[in-house]
Amino acid sequence: MSAVTDAAPAVASTNPFSQLIRDSLVVAKRNLIRMSRIPEMVIFGLIQPIMFVVLFAYVFGGSMNIAGSTDSSTYREFLMAGIFAQTVTFATAGAGAGIADDMHKGLIDRFRSLPMARGAVLTGRTLADLVQTALTLFVLAVVALLVGWRTHTNIGEVLGAFGLLLLAGYAFTWIGALIGLSVRTPEAATSGGLIWLFPVTFVSNAFVDSSRMTPWLRHIADWNPFSATVQACRVLFGNPGVSPSDAWPMQHPVWASAIYSVLIILIFRTLAVRKYRSDTA
């Protein structure tokens, strides 16, 4: 015990940006270690999208009319971009629940009392979620290939599609971060992170041909950021898509998806970090 007071802190760099990166990586590592110690969370996260693939592909597959074709293999190719995109948005709930849990257990207070970069706790969490999203997408792609999904473009475009998916997933985890900071319990963060995702992901071109929706609904679907990501993936995968629409995001889905994601990150990161700091001196 006598040595308690004699360790001199070896202080690392103090440049604010490099400190943010460094602290974020420390927190991300912590969250990844946690995830590896609670594998059931990762496994449940995988089961859900796989279930969706199987349900949609085999239950709805025969009765859907896509691009003039009722062939169930056409629907499967159409469907996958939607499932991929929906899966990455579900990371919202995980991020929210994780941060709410940290608040609940007092870890956020521990972090707040440390001389670390203010945005690092949330950035570290969202980075760890990004890793989990990438893992989930990989497993999902393998399952998709097994049920007959194929790409018809070059490897660069396919990787570009996955890049857009990861960017969209990362953006959505910032929405989750804000939810997690705003609710009292992890349970509330989970349901609060999921409820609004259902209308967002279903009022879109993800699972049905939005050109057959009533005009006002179609308008929403066409401008839905989620639809832009789905459409961008279909284009980059060379998979059959919905009937063309005049809406700008549907005409330029790759750009639209990237811009939407960056905007969501900028807005929700700002709000979440401000909320994290708000009660702090």
Binding site: D6, P9, L107, T280, A281
Partner: protein, 343 residues
């Protein structure tokens, strides 16, 4: 020259609740202040304001010579925080927790690793270092929590109810750890619901109630104001009350009068001299042939302090902790120190 922890007129309201109503504190460097009070008195809120977790509505605070409101980040480099609300990650091992905290104190990875190993050794956690913290016992978890607050050996430490919920053995162990720590010159502010704990660890005690400091002084001073120790006797025969009263008044301290509760056959007298005196009282009563049902040395509890200072017992208010009510705190006090009964 203000002390290592200095606060003036701290006010914090949550909605209608005035959690802090003008708290003033001054803790000289290298000393320990015990902040004593029931749940909801404002202890935790005070600590949160001083550790930059909460911005007070009014008032000023200086910690380690740094203005808390103006330079919170500099304050964070100079303080360690441990207690009921600064947790450890239960899925990380003890070692991983300490390394993470070290790195977030801006230590280099290698230095954080060395420091973590050192602390695990010092806090007798080396054997459990590579097990997730959720497998730790309550006492081990508190020690890990305390170690996390000590990673950079901060000059100023805050501990919020460090032993609440621990069994007596673990509480004793943690007291030893804290005593060794402060003997090294660290300034410490400690909150507690237990007078005995403040008595053991603190040089000075500030009693808080309803968001204000209502009394301060050394534990002896406070105890003197509270009436200090008392001997309580229950005699077997009602006729013996008068004789017993005579005996007790001879042992009584100062002007201390013997209080008699006839229907209970119970007599109480303030004393100084502790267990040794108790033995003398028993011998004397025995010599006089007075048969007793019960005799004990009663030390002042938080409730006694409150009763004498405010005229009311420690009230139960849950807005701050919600965990243990003041009632439970009082009961624990009784178990732990209230009465050393000799039959």
């Amino acid at each position: 020259m203000p002390g290592a922890i200095y606060a003036e007129g701290l006010v914090k309201t949550f909605g209608d609740v005035r959690a802090l109503d003008g708290v003033d504190l001054d803790v000289p460097e290298g000393t320990v202040l015990g902040l004593l009070g029931p749940n909801g008195a404002g202890k935790t809120t005070t600590v949160r304001c001083l550790t930059t977790l909460l911005r007070p509505d009014r008032g000023s605070a200086v910690v380690a010579g740094i203005d808390v409101l103006k330079h919170p980040d500099a304050v964070r480099r100079s303080i360690g925080l441990s207690g009921q609300f600064a947790a450890v990650d239960e899925y990380l091992t003890g070692r991983e927790n300490l390394q993470m905290v070290g790195q977030l104190y801006q230590m280099k990875a290698k230095a954080a690793k060395v420091r973590a190993a050192e602390l695990l050794e010092q806090f007798h956690l080396a054997d459990a270092a590579d097990r997730p913290a959720k497998t730790y016992s309550g006492g081990m978890r508190r020690r890990l929590d305390l170690a996390a607050a000590l990673v950079v050996s901060p000059p100023v430490m805050f501990m919020d109810e460090p032993t609440t919920g621990l069994d007596p053995r673990n509480r004793q162990q943690l007291w030893e750890v804290i005593k060794q720590l402060v003997s090294g010159g660290t300034t410490l502010l400690l909150t507690t619901q237990y007078l005995e704990e403040a008595d053991h660890l603190a040089h000075d005690i500030a009693v808080v109630d309803h968001g204000r400091v209502i009394a301060r002084g050394t534990s002896d001073e406070l105890k003197a104001r509270t009436g200090g120790e008392r001997v309580e006797v229950v005699v077997h025969e009602r006729e013996h009350i008068a004789t017993a009263s005579e005996v007790l008044s001879a042992f009584g301290r100062g002007q201390g009068e013997v209080a008699v509760e006839e229907h209970m056959r119970k007599l109480t007298v303030p004393v100084t001299g502790g267990a040794k005196l108790l033995a003398e009282v028993i011998r004397e009563l025995d010599t006089r042939g007075i048969e007793i049902d019960d005799i004990g040395l009663r030390r002042p509890t938080l409730d006694d302090v409150f009763l004498s200072l405010t005229g009311h017992v420690a009230e139960v208010k849950d807005e701050e902790n919600g965990a243990a009510s003041a009632k439970q705190g009082g009961e624990q006090d009784t178990k732990q120190s209230g009465k050393d009964t000799v039959k």
